[in-house]
């Protein structure tokens, strides 16, 4: 439970953290997707055409509030698209990865791999 509610706190802790250290040849770290839950949302969407809010919530084992806050941030950045509809009387929210989101995730993966390579070369 504590893990689900403290992601914003962890994010703040990470702001000036060790990953801010630049590594030669590595692309700039996208802090927006560095947060664990947002990274999870992008990863899950990258292998699915679209996922509903409830599917994401179950998959990432998080709360409604946490997921909606982080999904909103990704939506505002243009990394995920969101479609709201009704299934009978039940509201349904579908998320999908945008081209910008896909590129951002690929850049992040490149960055992480560059960090690992740089450390191994030292």
């Amino acid at each position: 439970m504590a893990d689900k509610t403290s992601s914003a706190r962890r994010e703040r802790k990470l702001q000036p953290g060790p990953l801010a250290t630049p590594v030669a040849g590595a692309p700039k770290l996208d802090r927006l997707i560095h947060e664990r839950l947002r990274l999870g949302i992008l990863s899950a969407l990258s292998v699915n055409e679209s996922l509903t809010f409830n599917e994401l919530k179950k998959m990432l084992d998080t709360t409604d509030g946490n997921l909606s806050v982080h999904a909103r941030k990704l939506e505002e950045a243009g990394y995920v698209g969101c479609t709201k509809s009704f299934e009978g009387r039940v509201p349904r929210t579908d998320y999908r990865l945008t081209a910008a989101g896909k590129r951002a995730l690929e850049r992040y993966l490149d960055h992480m791999e560059a960090l690992i390579r740089a450390m191994r070369e030292k």
Partner: protein
């Protein structure tokens, strides 16, 4: 004096040592990979590879149709099966590498485990039926069992994969009851047409 009353300890525990840079990066990569695997529907089924397999099957159908005897017709399709297998394996490996997901991750292993039994049954039936000279039913058996394998394996993949399997099975069923003159055309429609059609869909919707 104070020590006699109570031991003194900080209220807040000391902050843990910051995680090393490469350990953090490794942890992030592991998390991404696990999330992708848990998301479950990653398909290593290659779209572009499917199109290529379809194209070679079309060519095989054209070559096989002009062969003088059943043995040579059979040899052409056997060669095509080996070629398609190679294309499929290379394309799946390339796609997995592109998405940075191990080919034999949990969904990949499930896919292979569900796909193999039908393929083994198909290989055995092919050997027996060819030996017995029952060539006419071979296209139907190939399409039906390939479709069954894809459909079963597709349960661990994206929705379009089991649909592709069902289409192969329908084509196979049609081939089993179709006249001999139609067999080559149905093989071209199945291994050629369906691979190209679904290859394009997978490539456009799921990448690779």
């Amino acid at each position: 004096m104070i020590q006699e009353v109570a031991s003194i300890r900080p209220i807040r525990p000391a902050a843990p040592e910051p995680m090393e840079l490469h350990a953090h990066a490794l942890d992030s990569l592991t998390y991404i990979r696990r999330t992708m695997e848990r998301a479950g529907s990653f398909t290593a089924v290659p779209g572009v590879g499917g199109v290529l397999m379809g194209a070679t099957a079309m060519a095989a159908a054209w070559i096989a149709a002009s062969q003088p005897g059943t043995a040579r017709w059979f040899a052409v399709w056997l060669g095509e099966a080996v070629l398609a297998l190679l294309i499929g394996m290379v394309a799946a490996a390339r796609k997995s590498a592109h998405f940075r997901v191990p080919l034999f991750s949990a969904p990949g292993r499930k896919f292979v485990a569900a796909f193999l039994p039908s393929m083994c049954a198909g290989a055995l039936l092919t050997a027996v039926l060819f030996e017995e000279g029952v060539i006419r039913v071979l296209p139907g058996v190939w399409l039906l069992l390939y479709g069954a394998g894809v459909m079963a394996a597709g349960a661990a993949s994206v929705r379009v994969v089991p649909l592709m399997g069902a289409c192969f099975m329908a084509t196979g069923a049609a081939a089993l009851f179709a006249p001999p003159a139609w067999q080559n055309g149905l093989l071209a429609a199945g291994f050629g047409g369906l691979h190209i059609l679904f290859g394009v869909i997978i490539s456009v919707k799921y990448g690779g």
